[in-house]
């Protein structure tokens, strides 16, 4: 006969539960589900409601959109179209898109032009590529004349009277360069046109306008950085300002002309 122990004897005095008692927990949980249906149905319903509410929260914007689109399409679209067309027509005819810009402008300037350079630009222009066959859609050789001018801004000049010697010291800024290209002098020396796939007028038009702008900018930059021309311009500037100062100040006064950058050195 097995010895029957009391629960005191069965339960250990320490806090740790033996394994068989943890196993008992799950068995009791299942027992609770089977023996107290009211409470656990409530649990299941609660869980179901929670899950459904979370799902609804996630899909509610989509549901609302679909329903709104459906009802809106039936009721709102016809009236929206009619009202929108009427108002849009009135807005378009209102001519609010009107811009103003004054193009005629005059600005006083005080630059002394000291060196004039006549230049001729030769341009080999190529446009596009003919598919399969290869080669450009259009190519041409042009020449165009231009004038480059080196000038000194006299409004930036600094004039000082040397107190000890009564000399007049005129400091002038470094010459600046400006290129003026004359489109009316453009000559077409040679050209090539593809017999097929020769492109379209719009592309050729845009290509030349953009080319003209690029030629202007790059020729300006190239000539302005050409040392030989700049040295000649600087020498001419000193000479011209000295001659002018003798006319203005009188030949009895001594005038010293130099560049402002040299004064700083």
């Amino acid at each position: 006969m097995d010895t029957v122990k009391t629960t005191d004897q069965l339960a250990p005095k320490s806090d740790k539960q033996p394994k068989h008692l943890k196993h008992a927990f799950f068995q009791q949980a299942i027992f609770a589900l089977r023996t107290h249906p009211f409470h656990d149905v409530a649990t299941v319903i609660l869980l179901a409601v929670l899950v459904l509410s979370i799902v609804f929260f996630a899909i509610s914007p989509g549901v609302g959109t679909v329903v709104g689109l459906g009802i809106g399409s039936f009721e709102g679209v016809p009236s929206g179209l009619a009202d929108g067309a009427k108002d849009g027509n009135a807005e378009g005819l209102s001519a609010k898109d009107t811009t103003m810009d004054i193009r005629t402008k005059m600005v006083q300037t005080g630059k002394l032009e000291v060196l004039l350079v006549n230049v001729e630009l030769s341009d080999v222009y190529k446009h596009g590529e003919v598919p399969i066959v290869g080669g450009p859609q259009y190519a041409a050789l042009y020449t165009i004349q231009g004038e480059g001018i080196f000038s000194v801004d006299l409004t930036q000049a600094e004039v000082t009277l040397q107190s000890l010697s009564d000399n007049i010291l005129i400091g002038i800024p470094r010459p600046q360069f400006e290129l003026y290209i004359k489109d009316s002098t453009l000559k077409n020396i040679a050209e090539y046109k593809a017999s097929v796939f020769d492109g379209n007028t719009g592309d050729g038009y845009t290509g030349w306008l953009n080319s003209r702008e690029q030629i202007d900018q790059k020729a300006q930059s190239e000539l302005a950085g050409y040392n030989s021309l700049m040295e000649h311009a600087k020498a001419s500037a000193l000479d011209q300002v000295e001659r002018l100062s003798k006319s203005i100040c009188g030949s009895e006064k001594k005038v010293i002309v130099q560049f402002l950058e040299e004064e700083d050195e």
């Binding site: 032009e113 230049v119 007049i168 003026y180 489109d183 453009l186 379209n200 190239e222």
Partner: protein, 244 residues
């Protein structure tokens, strides 16, 4: 059945307080937590799917865009090889007194393509100058007076500063859309015409001439006074030499 067996089967209720069995509310809370975690993972999964979809879509778009861009650029590539020849250099002494700007509309049809019409706005800048080599300075130091005789200002430089297509119409049909050569020729003709019209307009403008003369007087008076800092109260008179 022994007590132990009864206890394990859940039928014994003796001395329950000695057994630390968690309440059914803890169990319910675990169920709720598990449900919430499931929802969180579902939402995270949807988000990851959406971002990977967008990434794949973007990569496909980029690859197609790059291929089409390179092909189209090659088909419409424009190049210019420019050489600059310096023909002459000349020392001058011209005083710029007025810079003027104006614009002109040039309307033209393409020569061999009647369906193409272009309205181009050409903006230009002109410079009025006074030739100081032809000027005469007469100074009277006793009376503190300087007389300056100068020629009338003239328009000596002009350049097209900007162009803007205000209206363009051409055929969209591939069989009647002209050619690159036609477009280049049309652009060159409009630029040349715009330049010539603007330059003539500026040269003949009485308003610009009067403004240039006034500017010349002010500039020369200012230069003469500032270059004679040792003479206070210097009087400067500027007169224009009338040319035949």
């Amino acid at each position: 059945m022994t007590e132990k067996q009864a206890l394990l089967s859940g039928k014994s209720r003796k001395n329950d307080s000695n057994l630390k069995i968690p309440s059914r509310w803890i169990f319910r809370a675990c169920l709720i937590l598990a449900a919430a975690l499931a929802v969180v993972f579902l939402l995270l999964g949807i988000n990851r799917m959406r971002s990977s979809y967008n990434s794949a879509l973007g990569n496909a778009y980029s690859a197609a865009y790059n291929a089409a861009f390179q092909f189209a650029e090659k088909q419409s590539h424009v190049s210019n090889y420019v050489t600059i020849a310096i023909k002459a250099e000349q020392e001058i002494s011209r005083l710029e007194v007025l810079k003027v700007s104006d614009s002109e509309f040039v309307v033209k049809n393409a020569e061999k393509d009647d369906s193409t019409t272009s309205w181009l706005e050409v903006q230009g800048t002109g410079i009025f100058t006074v030739d100081l080599n032809a000027a005469e300075f007469i100074a009277d130091s006793d009376r503190k007076y300087v007389l300056v005789n100068i020629p009338n200002p003239v328009l000596t430089s002009f350049e097209i500063s900007r162009t803007e297509k205000q209206f363009w119409h051409s055929s969209n049909s591939p069989l009647a859309n002209g050619s690159v050569a036609g477009g280049v020729q049309l652009a060159q003709e409009q630029l040349a015409e715009g330049q010539q019209e603007l330059e003539d307009s500026m040269r003949q403008s009485r308003k610009f001439h009067e403004a240039a003369k006034n500017a010349a007087v002010m500039m020369i008076e200012s230069i003469v006074r500032s270059w004679n800092p040792d003479i206070s109260g210097l009087q400067v008179e500027v007169k224009f030499i009338e040319t035949m």
